[in-house]
């Protein structure tokens, strides 16, 4: 089994805030292979988008990776110089942010920004880079690409800007694209177009996708695997079919039941009481315990580690198939 | 955060110390600020005169203390009127818009076009020197800054949903302005007023230097710098110390201003 394209081992990230030291990520491990589509789902404050930035070394000045190791095709990045590390990561991984108008340089034309990697990093000539830019713009479905090279980001619609951002992410022909809530700011019909684009890229170019979002329906339609994140950790990991059909972690289960489903409206939505824990304070036991319907003494004492339950991995002392139990009238 | 509070209270402490010293001047120094002693002119600091004497034998320390009275009082007074006028006009023009706002903005644009000192000098020249006319001159120019800050803040605030909610609950405009808009915009004017006091003192000092300030021989930091300039080589401290006093006052007011930003926008 060749080593995975990207693997992250026990990643820890801390952020200095005026409320104290925030333990944003408390041990994340995951593997990503080319062509795979993995979803990272969680609510605000779960640390999902910090994870992407931490892996790529794009953390803000007040945040630091305090523990953990990243391997690219089996080679560890620890101990490498910052320059070397950036080069390797940039070759393999592209990134798309939520708000394209902020993620594109307002004073540079779209063409310049798309051809920047080919021209600046791969050393192609200006003409060849522009050639590549047009190719990429057509690939991501921007009509009349030729004419739009000289356009500035603020002159494009939300949907087109996001396509430009994807073109940029693709310009270094990476194996994987990190997407940090790329369609959250878009309208439903435009979101569908961008999701379809990402799906086609995976099919045609075998470009893997790591998709961070709070929208469970989007993960359901575009991802094969899903990691449900809570308070800086993965609490449940597995295939989308398995996790959506039969979640084994109380939080994953509650989340799935509180999200309204367009096709099956229910009498009453399940709502989780209380709020996410304040990660500037140390967590004792399972962070979800105070809000969990299945919590017990043990949960308050020790924080459960991820372990195999049926086909997925879950971090819960009482992990079981809540849904099937419910249907069987036991839970 | 400890550090943030410390600097705020340090600023308040420093300023109140200076204000107290100025207020209790007669008890602190028995010298007369304008009493000349031609026998001991330009004396260097000694046990009698801790900061020496100037070219007319007057005690420098005493003049610094009495100077604080003039500069601080004018500085604060010169900020009061613009604060009130500017805030009111800014509030109305930000809320009402229309012709009132258009006219006011033309006036503001014209006033801003004049460099502050040039307009202040011209106004003092027109109204005549002395503390009263300085306050008038600075006020005639100073209100513009407050008007722009408050107007900009009101334009933002009136689009916020809690103002919409107030409108929807049928509250009269006066009450909405008083209880919903003003409390949320006034903080920016208060913070600015801290640095505005410093700017006013700087204006007084500059006007004093140009001979348009507080008439001689009253003890005032600006005229002390101007008179002291001639003796800069030997008695360098005579023009330097009044300047340092202004810097200290400026320093304390900036600390208070920064501290207020944290408190008011919490």
């Amino acid at each position: 089994m060749t080593s995975p394209l990207l693997s992250v081992r026990d990643l820890h990230v801390e952020i200095e805030t005026n409320r104290g030291l925030l333990k944003a990520i408390r041990g994340i491990s995951m593997d990503v292979n080319a062509g795979e589509s993995i979803g990272i789902v969680g609510e605000s404050g779960s640390g999902k988008s910090i994870t992407l930035k931490a892996i790529l070394g794009l953390l803000p000045p007040n945040a630091r990776v305090t523990k953990g190791e990243i391997f690219v095709e089996g080679r560890s990045l620890n101990g490498m110089s910052d320059k070397e590390r950036r080069a390797i990561l940039a070759e393999k991984i592209g990134i798309v942010f939520q708000d394209a108008i902020a993620a594109l340089n307002p004073v540079l034309t779209v063409g310049t920004q798309i051809s920047e990697i080919p021209h600046r990093r791969l050393g192609w000539s200006k003409a060849k880079s522009h050639e590549r830019a047009i190719e990429l713009m057509t690939l991501v479905g921007i009509p009349e690409a030729e004419k739009r090279l000289k356009v500035y980001p603020h002159q494009l619609s939300g949907g087109l800007r996001q396509r430009v951002a994807i073109a940029i992410a693709l310009s270094g022909n990476p194996k994987i694209i990190f997407c940090d809530e790329p369609t959250t700011a878009l309208d439903v019909t435009i979101q569908a177009q961008v999701l379809r684009l990402l799906e086609d890229l995976r099919a045609k170019e075998n470009t893997g996708i790591v998709f961070v979002t709070h929208d469970l329906a989007v993960v359901n339609e575009i991802c094969e695997k899903v990691n449900v994140m809570y308070a800086g950790r993965f609490v449940e990991r597995g295939t989308v079919e398995q996790t959506f059909q039969d979640p084994t972690h109380p939080y994953a289960y509650s989340l799935l039941k509180s999200a309204p489903d367009m096709e099956h409206p229910v009498e009453r939505l399940f709502s989780i009481q209380g709020e996410a824990p304040d990660l500037t304070k140390p967590t004792i036991g399972c962070p979800f315990a105070p809000r969990c319907f299945a919590a017990s003494e043990e949960c308050l004492a020790t924080e459960p580690e991820l372990r195999h339950v049926h086909e997925s991995e879950t971090a819960c002392h009482h992990a079981t198939n809540f849904l099937s139990q419910l249907n069987a009238g036991q839970a | 955060m400890k550090a943030k509070n410390f600097s705020f209270y340090f600023g308040i402490g420093l300023l109140s110390f200076i204000v107290l010293v100025a207020a209790f001047a007669p008890w602190l120094t028995h010298y007369d600020p304008i009493g000349q002693d031609l026998l001991h002119t330009l004396a260097s600091p000694n046990s009698h005169h801790w900061l020496g004497t100037d070219n007319l034998g007057r005690d420098v320390l005493t003049r610094i203390i009495y100077g604080a009275r003039i500069d601080l009082s004018i500085g604060v007074l010169a900020v009061l009127f613009p604060f009130i006028l500017g805030t009111t006009l800014g509030l109305i023009s930000g809320w009402r818009g229309g012709w009132f706002d258009a006219i006011l903005m033309r006036i503001v644009d014209t006033t801003i076009a004049f460099p502050f000192y040039v307009l202040a000098i011209a106004l003092v020249f027109v109204v005549g020197a002395g503390p009263k006319s300085i306050i008038i001159a600075i006020s005639l120019v100073g209100w513009v800054a407050y008007c722009r800050i408050i107007r900009a803040a009101v334009l933002v605030a009136k689009e916020l949903d809690y103002v919409h909610a107030a409108k929807l609950s049928g509250l009269p405009t006066g009450r909405i302005l008083r209880r919903h808009i003003l409390p949320n915009v006034i903080s920016q004017a208060i913070v600015f007023s801290m640095s505005d006091i410093v700017l006013s003192i700087l204006a007084i000092v500059s006007l004093g230097y140009l001979g348009l300030g507080v008439p001689i021989p009253t003890a005032e930091w600006g005229s002390m710098i101007q008179e002291g300039q001639a003796y800069i080589l030997q008695q360098w401290w005579i023009p330097t110390i009044p300047g340092i006093m202004v810097v200290i006052v400026g320093f304390s007011l900036s600390l208070i201003g920064d501290g207020l930003v944290k408190r008011l926008n919490k």
Partner: protein, 326 residues
């Protein structure tokens, strides 16, 4: 008294672009944006209508015109068949209240929750000095907040709690109809669910009439009895929720509904819709959806379809603005 709480007939709200002095002098008519362009809507007592549409379709402008934040450009608005003009009496103001989207901008940061409620209760004489405290506590309990919240400032509450305070404020005036403008869009899934449940409880307990505006179609289906789909300033389809979701008639409604990602396991992306979100133009000729409509015919280019009952549908309420289906 008819059971129609709020009704709009041919309602329009056009925004007039700022015009330079020069253009005014030359007599050019300013660039107008017909955000809401002739809308008919009747909301019956106790009913919740979901208003859906993409950004720029005018749903929020319609909501703000109904509530009275924007004066209408043309058309009639009436509450219980009494027409209301541009200036509304206190009585009329109280009748229509709004809940807002951004929990952090909808509460006055400088006022405690208690003072906020007391101010409007006393102003509208819905409470006296003596019982205003109790009335305020009642409102908080009604929306599921501890009565201790009276003394705190908005910054001490989470997003979900602030929305509850916003709902309490709206209910304080005992409105006939509540307009929720993207009231849960800024909240996390779990908190969103609790607010949706609260609104459903209020509907059941108080017989609350509500217009629920949102771009989130799954939430709208969860909460509404009837749906109205808006596109470029017009309602293109309306009808009972189950009916419209079961068999959408207007091409845009179909496009919208199958663009929404589904939760059911195994469901994969449908065919991607084509075309960009169109920009609002001053005037439209023919049907406004023609540009993106997969089934447009020549007639669509000339006639501007009205909202009419769907041909052959058993439910007279199910109406759509498309030639092919009327």
């Amino acid at each position: 008294m008819s059971d129609i709480v709020l009704s709009a007939h041919e309602l329009s709200k056009h925004f007039v672009g700022r015009q330079s002095l020069l253009a005014k002098v030359r007599g050019q008519d300013p660039f107008t944006v017909p955000a809401v362009d002739g809308v008919d809507l009747d909301i019956k007592a106790g009913e919740t209508i979901g208003l859906v549409g993409e950004s720029g379709c005018g749903k929020s402008t319609l909501g703000r015109t109904l509530v009275g934040l924007y004066p209408q450009t043309s058309g009639e608005l009436s509450i219980f068949d009494r027409q209301i003009g541009k200036e509304r009496s206190l009585e009329e103001r109280r009748a229509v209240q709004m809940i807002f989207q951004d929990p952090f901008a909808s509460l006055n940061p400088r006022m405690t929750v208690g003072n906020m409620l007391k101010e409007i209760l006393l102003f509208h004489k819905l409470a006296t000095k003596e019982d205003v405290e109790d009335k305020s506590k009642e409102l908080l309990t009604l929306v599921g907040l501890p009565t201790s919240a009276l003394k705190s400032h908005p910054r001490q509450f989470s997003g979900g709690q602030r929305q509850r305070i916003g709902i309490a404020r709206a209910l304080a005036l005992q409105p006939k109809i509540l307009i929720a403008d993207e009231a849960v869009s800024a909240l996390d899934v779990s908190v969103q669910a609790s607010i949706v449940n609260l609104l459903l409880d209020l509907k059941r307990d108080l017989g609350l009439t509500m217009l629920f505006i949102s771009h989130n179609i799954a939430v709208v289906r969860q909460i509404s009895d009837r749906i109205a789909v808006m596109y470029l300033g017009r309602i293109v389809e309306t009808g009972p929720t189950e009916e419209v979701f079961a068999n959408p008639q207007h091409p845009y409604t179909k496009l919208l509904l199958n663009s929404v990602p589904k939760m059911t396991p195994g469901s994969k992306l449908g065919e991607a819709p084509s075309g960009e979100l169109p920009k609002m133009q001053a005037k439209f000729v023919g049907c406004r959806f023609r540009g993106r409509c997969p089934v447009a015919v020549d007639a669509c280019a000339t006639t501007d379809p009205k909202l009419l009952p769907v041909k052959g549908s058993n439910n007279p309420d199910h109406m759509t603005a498309c030639l092919l289906v009327q």
